[in-house]
Symmetry: C2
């Protein structure tokens, strides 16, 4: 029986609780969220399950005191800066940490000092910490590195994730700008709230795995506009309004593009798919028609990684370092 | 600079030497083969490269004495029984071991006592040992387990590898029975020389990863007969003669098929592809059109695994246990 602490009970946190409890060998011993509507409530009830006897606390430090949890699942924010203090508290409480914080998936290039501090404190308290998820964490970084295992030479890696957001949850459709006017879209981009976080981290993880020294990493973002009225999403999108977003991350060695990650999410997108193309010896093209549902995959991999992180040596890990976090059927599953 | 010993200088061994030397950070300090035509020759010259100053020896024990190699690459036989003594000698010489021995990829079910002995001696001498390759080792075991990382539930795994052997090396075409009559094919099967080794090992590795207890594992083998004259291979195959082989491995839980591995290799096969289908939450279908060339992939992954095995803890490892053995560009590559 693995003892888990859940920190952050937003849509992802709730789904993780659902998924984890289906595995049978996982038990939640504490839960934390700052939302005043959640504090004091039973974690199970909040997740529309039966009561678990675990009450949501506001304060992380007091919530985890004497809980002796094996792993803390941290689904709070995308920013490593904002999450550092939480990781510090968890490490001091001797809990391994699995987080969906995008910037934590490979922070060594963009936030080397924070990464170093997290690594040091984890080693001091002999726990392991990792950032994972479907993207970053799997589709655009870990999986292409795994595929490259059969390559004698890699010249270029190109990954394309196109997804039709019509059936995704409303906050996701809002996050990609569906239904915004041209001006509103620009404002959101300027605010920094309309952006998939993680492309740059994925590029750095791939480069690290290949032992490539990149001279330049770029990231672009542009709206996708509806060419006709779209009614498949949560609101009607008129022709000319934004229906989604396209982001392209690129990594260069000596002005030569060696990594290209193209992420496109829009309501009414014709086709969903995930494609990895490795140009090398041999050249490999791997494709997942229909793509992988991001929410389900992120929650599943977060739980599957638990099994690998408890076996890992102390420190800040990446997906490259741990044993395969494959699906694992719980004993009474 | 990694110091390597090459044991077995058949077609795979030669290609591995080629590939390894392209990486720049690998050096061969000893080479072993029992073929009297090879003994006493320079390894480089034998591989049609420039002389390396490494002379092929017949006797493993004397060849590796005082060589202080980091890793031994063992490409001799498919049988773990036949390879155990070699592994023992290498472990005693404190060398990590990477082998293409199919039965070594997951020997815990079929050969538990040998597996235990290998694990024990590796731990005693603090070295790690692993069996790898494209199949077993990657396509039909490691890769599907990696893909299952984004799954909350796995009900069934079905993997299909179809390959057109027209352009593969002659021994491979012979090995799959291309050009044999019905009677000759039967004789070869009875001899045990016409069989892809590893399906059962792949099934056990997947089951181990999923924490599934299989009640039954089966393996079938049948010839594929030419429906018309085929001239794309190394010899002309008349209508009605064998052009290849199809093997299907199956794993069952309570009479329910949960794993199916279908391997089909034939001269003149219409299409080459590798497909992994995971039925679960979510259901995932991943496909590599054109498939992956087995020889190139096996040699590449053998070399890529070197980097992971030197970081591994001592003992007999499987592909599930080690950090991602992705392609790695050597420093002066």
């Amino acid at each position: 029986m693995l003892k888990i602490v859940q920190i952050g009970i937003g849509p992802l946190g709730k789904k993780i609780v659902h998924f984890a409890l289906e595995r049978k060998d996982i038990k939640f011993v504490a839960a934390v969220d700052t939302n005043p509507d959640f504090v004091g409530k039973d974690l199970g009830v909040l997740c529309l399950l039966k009561p678990l006897g675990t009450i949501v606390c506001k304060d992380l430090k007091s919530a985890i005191k004497n809980k002796n949890a094996d792993v803390a699942i941290l689904t709070t924010v995308s920013s490593i800066k904002a999450i550092e203090k939480q990781i510090e508290e968890l490490a001091k409480a001797k809990m391994n940490i699995v987080s969906t914080c995008e910037e934590l998936s490979f922070p060594w290039q963009e936030h080397p000092q924070i990464a170093k501090r997290i690594d040091t404190i984890c080693k001091k308290y002999k726990v392991a910490c990792i950032g994972t998820g479907v993207n970053p964490g799997f589709l655009m970084d870990y999986l292409p590195c795994v595929l490259s295992s059969v390559c004698q030479k890699v010249n270029k890696i190109k990954i394309t994730r196109f997804l039709d957001a019509s059936n995704r949850r409303i906050p996701f459709q809002q996050k990609i700008g569906a239904g915004l006017t041209r001006t509103q879209f620009k404002e959101k981009v300027a605010e920094g709230t309309l952006r998939h976080v993680g492309l740059v981290e994925s590029i750095h993880l791939i480069a690290h795995s290949m032992n490539w020294e990149l001279n330049n990493v770029t990231e672009s973002l542009k709206p996708i506009f509806a060419r006709q009225t779209i009614t498949s999403g949560y609101i009607k999108i008129n022709k000319g309004m934004a229906c989604g977003v396209e982001q392209i991350g690129r990594g260069f060695i000596d002005k030569k593009e060696v990594i290209q990650l193209r992420f496109r999410a829009a309501v009414g997108e014709k086709e969903s798919f995930d494609t990895i193309e490795i140009t090398g010896i041999p050249t490999i093209k791997s494709s997942i028609p229909g793509g992988i549902n991001g929410d389900t995959a992120t929650c599943a991999i977060t739980i599957n990684v638990i099994r690998s992180i408890v076996k890992a040596t102390p420190g800040l890990k990446t997906m490259l370092d741990i044993p395969v976090p494959g699906y694992f059927q719980g004993d009474s599953d």
